[in-house]
């Protein structure tokens, strides 16, 4: 982790008519940090992520992602982030290789670079046997690992993960987090949203949103201390019930 801020949010407000989805959010995410963004259904997580990914405008406040402004430089933001959601972003009817070539192509990587990085990836994941298989024929664990590799294939500065390991077995989950650690090692910042607190425990720092506001922020240990809870689930429930 370094001191450089990759995401800076100051007094972010997003309104839909009279409804305030994001109520004065402020936080920073540092380079190579794993930042967990938690909140109940409807707490406003999705709205905030859309703004951070350059998909929608804030109503007011300052938002900088990867050094770019969320009002004026949305296209530059999009070029410098990666995204992976629980509903896989890979095409079932394309092979692993075709999927990667397609996504890399979108980000304007040269053929030579794609080939080079693809070969690296195949070596790293050990997917010589899988690379020409259709995605639909892969086990769930592999789909998730490959989807993550695709999301960071263009070496974004920050990658957004939406409930990345929901439903996978405990071993695959750990292999997945190994990949995340590796990405962090290479300087990528990781922004994770999840409902599942065991996943939250892997984050360096967490924020918990309740009704559009950030109610708590800190390391998992700090939060457990502060709310006198034995695990993050209790922290979360205490916070949400208070509201």
């Amino acid at each position: 982790m370094s001191d450089e801020n990759i995401i800076v949010v100051e007094n972010l407000v997003k309104k839909f008519g009279n409804f305030t989805a994001n109520d004065n959010l402020s936080f920073e995410v540092k380079k190579s940090e794993i930042f967990g963004f938690l909140g109940a259904n409807g707490a406003g997580k999705t709205t905030a992520i859309k703004i951070l990914c350059g998909l929608s405008f804030p109503t007011s406040g300052n938002v900088m992602v990867a050094g770019f402004d969320a009002y004026k430089q949305r296209n530059l933001i999009k070029k410098n982030i990666g995204y992976m959601s629980q509903g896989f972003s890979l095409y079932d009817d394309l092979t692993v290789k075709e999927n990667i070539e397609f996504y890399a192509g979108i980000y304007g990587l040269s053929r030579k670079l794609i080939k080079q990085r693809f070969n690296e990836l195949v070596g790293k994941l050990g997917i010589h046997d899988l690379k020409n298989k259709f995605v639909k024929d892969l086990p769930l664990g592999w789909k998730q690992k490959i989807a993550f590799s695709v999301a960071i294939f263009h070496r974004p500065r920050v990658v957004f993960l939406d409930e990345p390991t929901s439903g996978v077995d405990p071993i695959t989950r750990r292999q997945f987090w190994d990949l995340i650690y590796e990405a962090v090692e290479s300087g990528i910042t990781v922004f994770v949203t999840t409902h599942y607190m065991d996943e939250a425990e892997y984050c360096n720092r967490l924020s918990i949103m309740v009704d559009g506001k950030i109610e708590a922020m800190g390391t998992p240990a700090e939060l457990k201390d502060k709310y006198k809870a034995s695990n993050m689930d209790d922290v979360f429930v205490k916070l949400a019930r208070k509201a």
């Binding site: 109940a40 439903g167 996978v168 077995d169 405990p170 962090v184 090692e185 409902h195 065991d198 892997y202």
Partner: protein, 306 residues
């Protein structure tokens, strides 16, 4: 007589084995959990129990009935909540509930006492379309619909997947409440931490039950010594510990690492010594009893290596 009794059950989809020689029994008024990741065979098992799928071989008795032959009688006894949210999104909360009551030949009023712990929470929104409900409320509506005909056996396929922590906890509380009326509950979840909320569980992986019993039975069946190491730099420590001999497994658990010793020869002193030798400081090593997830990982590792 057990409410659900399954012996040597097999089910394949083409070359894929979904259920592989699976046996389990759920006693009457039991609160039974199927714990396992996606693809472990939980849904297939539940669909066979609910008579929606035919088994390839093996014996299945549910509520004293054979789901293959007596499916008509059995279906009257069952309340089933499939994994996917399956209510009519274009109908209101009340219309959905009324529909399912009517289909089973009953009314909301008749069994209101039964659904009250669940339905009362969403009743204020009874005129809202089901499609406009939040995830937690949808689950409550689906549960109300599965309960409205007073089933004897309630089968819930991953009811808490994709639901936030608060709603999830409320949901489990409601299940405990419903159980008091004598209903047998079989519920599945991919989340290990939810296992302890059930009386008895089966850990499922690759179509097999790798362990069964009460959560305590399962954790006390973990024979190796387990150590929890806290560290500020988990990735680094993981790499270091993976180089240590005498360890069965090294796994990250959030900001901690769980280390399972091969034998009693590897203990806290040996681990601390090894860390010191590798210039790692600032970690604490504590011996600890195993959790469900430790047991699960252990079973997968032994299952896949043998």
């Amino acid at each position: 007589m057990n409410e659900i009794e399954i012996h040597n059950l097999y089910k394949s989809y083409g070359p894929t084995k979904a259920l592989d020689n699976l046996s389990l029994s759920v006693e009457k008024n039991g609160f039974y959990g199927l714990i396992g990741p996606d693809g472990a065979g939980k849904s297939s098992l539940m669909r066979i129990i609910t008579s929606l799928l035919l088994p390839d071989s093996g014996s299945v008795i549910v509520g004293g009935l054979d789901p293959v032959k007596d499916y008509k009688k059995l279906r009257l006894k069952l309340g089933y909540m499939p994994g996917k949210f399956s209510l009519y999104q274009d109908l209101s909360v009340e219309e959905n509930l009324k529909f399912f009551a009517r289909v089973f030949g009953t009314t909301i009023e008749e069994n209101y006492h039964l659904i009250k712990p669940v339905y009362s929470q969403i009743e204020p929104f009874k005129n809202r379309r089901a499609g406009k409900l939040s995830g937690g409320m949808k689950q409550k509506l689906a549960l109300s619909c599965a309960l409205v005909h007073k089933p004897e056996i309630l089968i819930l396929d991953e009811p808490t997947t994709g639901v936030d922590a608060v709603s999830r906890r409320e949901f489990w509380d409601m299940l405990a409440e419903i159980r008091k009326s004598g209903i047998t509950i079989l519920v599945s979840t991919p989340y290990m931490e939810e296992a302890v909320l059930c009386d008895k569980i089966s850990l499922m992986f690759d179509g097999k039950v790798v362990d069964s019993g009460s959560p305590d039975d399962i954790t006390s069946g973990f024979k190796n010594n387990l150590f929890i190491i806290k560290s500020a730099n988990v990735p680094l420590l993981l790499n270091v510990l993976r180089g240590m001999e005498g360890l069965k497994s090294v796994n990250s658990f959030g900001q901690t690492i769980h280390v399972v010793a091969d034998s009693s020869e590897t203990g806290k002193p040996e681990i601390e010594e090894f860390l010191q030798k590798n210039n790692v400081s600032g970690c604490s090593v504590e011996q600890s009893p195993a959790g469900i997830e430790d047991c699960f990982i252990d079973h997968i590792l032994t299952n896949t290596t043998t």
